[in-house]
């Protein structure tokens, strides 16, 4: 019996994509990377909805292609002097002394090209994984899944995401309108001619939106008293400070060890306590929230497993994870698993809901 069509929890798709991206970031094996790209492509085509953001996948693919092309070009332009078999003998451009160690053009070796290609492919795979998450899960729904205490931040982000396309519209409109009248043509004054109406329009819109949200109850005070609110604020702030110090100490080996892991843990705990405390008093409810069901968990598990296998490969089968540019890359059984396991997401996730169908 196949599952009824529905939208999967957006966080599940993001975790799945992050798992695949992790695996991709831990290897330069082109066969493995291509397998991951292929898997992502199949999952996106079978599981994306017909909403506007779902169409963005193609854009990310092109971005990935651009990353590969740029990386290879980079190697050609700056990669002179890479040892190996010369495939294209370009003249070297002499550079002044102060850019010591950098050569422009020069003989291009097959190894340099391959290294660029592998590197670019890895970057492209990461980009495509992010693109997949974006087109599988509505980014706005993702923001709506934030914990209640972060609701305000989430709404601000949603509004920001919505306002951007409106800003472009407003810019186009003002451009067209200003062409209808005579006026200043100087460089600075022309900018002003264009900016003033756009900014006015933006302010008006923002005010209208703020008024609209306010009259519909956004930011209604819960039952919290002023003291409670202050406590929550202090907890969250202190926690975040702790996290920052902890991360810093973890990265800077010279810092006292007491500030590292222990501080990070304490900071996180305090921040979480603050958020929980804030969330408890929030009187807001959520309309048709995305729920975690077995399918979501399965998709997340698939993603995590791909990530973990990639990590294992990175540690135990170095020759496969980072093949030498002089030899043909090979694939082991584990690598094959890393490459293809992501596909299981298609099997465990329900088909997407079509427009107009029940959610």
């Amino acid at each position: 019996m196949s599952a009824l069509p529905r939208d999967l929890h957006p966080v599940a798709w993001w975790l799945w994509a992050i798992g695949l991206a992790t695996a991709a970031s831990l290897t330069t094996n082109p066969l493995l990377l291509l397998m991951i790209v292929g898997v992502v492509g199949v999952v996106v085509t079978t599981r994306r909805t017909d909403h506007p953001w779902a169409r963005s996948f193609r854009f990310y693919v092109w971005l990935g292609v651009a990353a590969v092309v740029l990386r290879v070009l980079w190697r050609v332009v700056l990669g002179g002097g890479y040892p190996g078999e010369v495939v294209l003998d370009l003249p070297e451009v002499p550079l002044p002394d102060f850019v010591l160690g950098v050569t422009l053009l020069g003989p291009v070796t097959r190894e340099a090209l391959l290294a660029g290609l592998y590197d670019g492919l890895r970057l492209a795979t990461l980009v495509i994984c992010v693109g997949a998450a974006n087109s599988l899960a509505n980014p706005k729904r993702l923001l709506r899944s934030l914990p209640p205490a972060l609701y305000e931040v989430g709404t601000a982000l949603v509004v920001a995401v919505t306002v951007l396309p409106q800003l472009t519209q407003s810019i186009q409109r003002v451009r067209a309108a200003q062409a209808l009248r005579a006026g200043d043509t100087g460089r600075v004054r022309r900018l002003r001619r264009f900016l003033v109406p756009v900014l006015e329009d933006t302010f008006d819109r923002s005010l209208a939106l703020a008024a609209g949200m306010d009259t519909r109850g956004y930011g209604r005070a819960g039952t919290a008293t002023a003291t409670e609110r202050r406590t929550t604020g202090a907890l969250v702030l202190a926690g975040l400070c702790g996290v920052v110090v902890g991360v810093y100490a973890l990265l800077d080996q010279t810092a006292p060890r007491l500030l590292a892991a222990p501080m990070l843990v304490v900071g996180t705990l305090v921040a979480v306590a603050g958020l929980v405390n804030a969330g408890r008093r929030v009187q807001r409810t959520r309309y048709r929230p995305d729920r975690w069901r077995p399918a979501e968990l399965a998709v997340v598990a698939v993603g995590l497993m791909v990530g973990a296998l990639g990590w294992w490969l990175n540690h135990h089968e170095l020759a496969i994870a980072y093949p030498a540019v002089t030899a043909t890359p090979e694939v082991s059984l584990t690598a094959l698993a890393v490459g293809l396991l992501g596909l299981v997401a298609v099997v465990v996730s329900p088909p997407p809901r079509v427009q107009g169908g029940a959610r």
Partner: protein
């Protein structure tokens, strides 16, 4: 019985000016109260006081008290009034928070913290009540104006407010969409007992539905509250039907077309007015215009001829392609097919400066044209002659005034002067009557007639049937990007009831305006 809402001695003043002066008003359960008056007398401000947006979003000093069910709420911010007072602003699209209709309907309830089952039930009920169930998954910004307005109303209705406050709910809508929205509101008042407080310029649309009326005459006179028929007898702004009734001396004043028809039976009509031949001097010839927007056809094989000395009205529902046609005629909008001939030139082939000299276009948001601090600076930047044109259009605007401080009508005239400065012979206007009261519209009509008399060819896109009746020589109606009818105003508006002005609905064709009957009535 205690009134639902009570305003006591509401006074709002900015530094030197007083906008509202000791206004008293009560709104009972289940009645529709209409706020009317000339532009700029503070109608929106009064609504803002009720919702709490004034003075929080506008500044100013507020005195007096606002009581909801006898409890003072004057110090409560809008969000704390949200459960009882729903507000829909002038531009509903600007206030949308989410991206689909269904989520938008649920947004307010989420803020109130209603249980999920209740939210689910109310969303479905409201979708059905407003007839927007088919729009639930649509992107809000792709909806038409009327649909957006109904979603906006729905999004506050789900909170089950006792009072609905609407600021010009129909001013941006075509006649049919406006009727839909008003029918919805009437249904809410009658079936659900919701009270409605609404401000509107287009009285001809709303007066028949109003139980009571708040008249804000402006100019320092006191705000009056009472029965629409009583107040309209001496209101400075009246719909054509009331003007007809006043001139004919009917008492009580008819407010609906039905009543007016009955009263008009006794009227002996003179011979129909002579229809003067229209000036026949083609200036701009557009044939077979086709414009494509993405994969949708915005205009298909549109033929339009603009004659010097004629005012042509361009009508059609929201999204029928009116704006696109204006921009295509002006030459900025690239067309896929067709030809434009303006004295042998194609406007699309000209550069922006060349277009300015041949075709003036006043865009929908006239404020997009303005960017300087004073009227004098704007006129100087507009080139020689701008000030003279402005003085001829609307005399007596102070040089030092900031364009944003001008009244709607004055700002429109300033923008119009700027586009007319390079002396073009073709004038295109996109929805110039939005937000204008009857006097300002009369003024605009006079300006357009003057332009036509000076040998300009004028094309004005508008939803306002009364404005069309007062100014246009001929009408072109667009639907789905195609011309569905065109010809002299009298014939075209007589053919379709949606576009017929009130006078024609009462007296029948060929009568368009009250002033045509002047002789007969006196």
């Amino acid at each position: 019985m205690r009134p639902l809402l009570e305003l006591r001695g509401i006074t709002l003043s900015y530094d030197e000016s007083t906008v509202l002066d000791a206004v008293d008003l009560t709104v009972e359960e289940g009645e529709l109260v209409l706020v009317s008056g000339p532009t700029g007398v503070g109608k929106s401000t009064l609504l803002g006081v009720v919702t709490g947006l004034v003075p929080r979003f506008s500044g100013g000093v507020l005195r007096g008290d606002v009581l909801l069910d006898g409890v003072s709420i004057v110090d409560a911010p809008p969000r704390e009034r949200a459960h009882a007072i729903g507000y829909v602003g002038q531009d509903p699209a600007a206030a949308f928070v989410t991206d689909t209709a269904e989520d938008e309907l649920a947004y307010g309830m989420e803020q109130l913290g209603l249980p999920p089952e209740t939210m689910r039930r109310r969303v479905e009920e409201t979708l059905d009540l407003l007839g927007i169930a088919h729009l639930r998954d649509r992107d809000l910004h792709t909806l038409s104006g009327g649909e957006q307005q109904r979603v906006a109303i729905g999004s506050v209705l789900t909170m089950h407010p006792r009072l609905l406050v609407l600021d010009e709910p129909t001013s941006a809508l075509d006649p049919t969409a406006a009727e839909d929205v008003l029918a919805t509101l009437t249904r809410l008042v009658h079936d659900l007992g919701v009270s409605v407080l609404l401000a509107e310029h287009r009285l001809e649309r709303v007066v028949p539905f109003a139980d009571r009326m708040v008249l804000m005459p402006g100019g320092g006179r006191r705000v009056e509250v009472g029965d629409p028929a009583d107040l309209l007898a001496h209101s400075p702004v009246v719909p054509p039907i009331v003007e007809l009734g006043r001139r004919a001396g009917w008492s009580p004043l008819p407010l609906t077309v039905r009543d007016a028809r009955r009263a008009a039976r006794t009227l002996t009509l003179p011979a129909p007015p002579d229809v003067a031949d229209l000036a026949d001097e083609p200036l701009l010839l557009a044939t077979g215009i086709g414009v494509v927007h993405g994969s949708t056809v915005a205009l298909r094989e549109v033929d339009v001829t603009l004659h010097a000395g004629r005012v042509t009205a361009l009508m059609g529902r929201n999204g029928a392609g009116k704006s696109t046609l204006l921009w295509a005629l002006q030459g900025t909008r690239k067309r896929r097919a067709g030809a434009i001939d303006l004295d042998g030139d194609d406007t699309a082939a000209l550069d922006p400066a060349g277009r300015r000299g041949r075709v003036a276009l006043l865009p929908q948001t006239a404020a997009d044209l303005l960017y300087l601090e004073t009227v004098a600076e704007e006129c100087a930047a507009g080139g020689a002659g701008t000030r003279e044109i402005l003085d001829r259009l609307v005399p007596g605007i102070d040089d030092a005034t900031h364009p944003r401080d001008l009244s709607e009508g004055q700002r429109l005239a300033l923008a119009l002067a700027l586009v007319l400065a390079p002396a073009p012979r073709v004038v295109l206007l996109d929805e110039p009557t939005r937000g204008l009261d009857y006097n300002a519209k009369g003024e605009l009509a006079r300006i357009l007639r003057t332009l036509a008399a000076d040998g300009h060819a004028v094309l004005v896109a508008t939803h306002d049937v009364e404005f069309v009746a007062s100014v246009a020589d001929e009408v072109v109606v667009l639907a789905e990007g195609e011309v569905v009818s065109s010809g002299p105003t009298r014939r075209v508006v007589a053919e379709s009831p949606a576009f017929a002005p009130q006078v024609m609905k009462v007296l029948g064709a060929p009568w368009l305006r009250v002033d045509e009957l002047e002789v007969a009535l006196t």
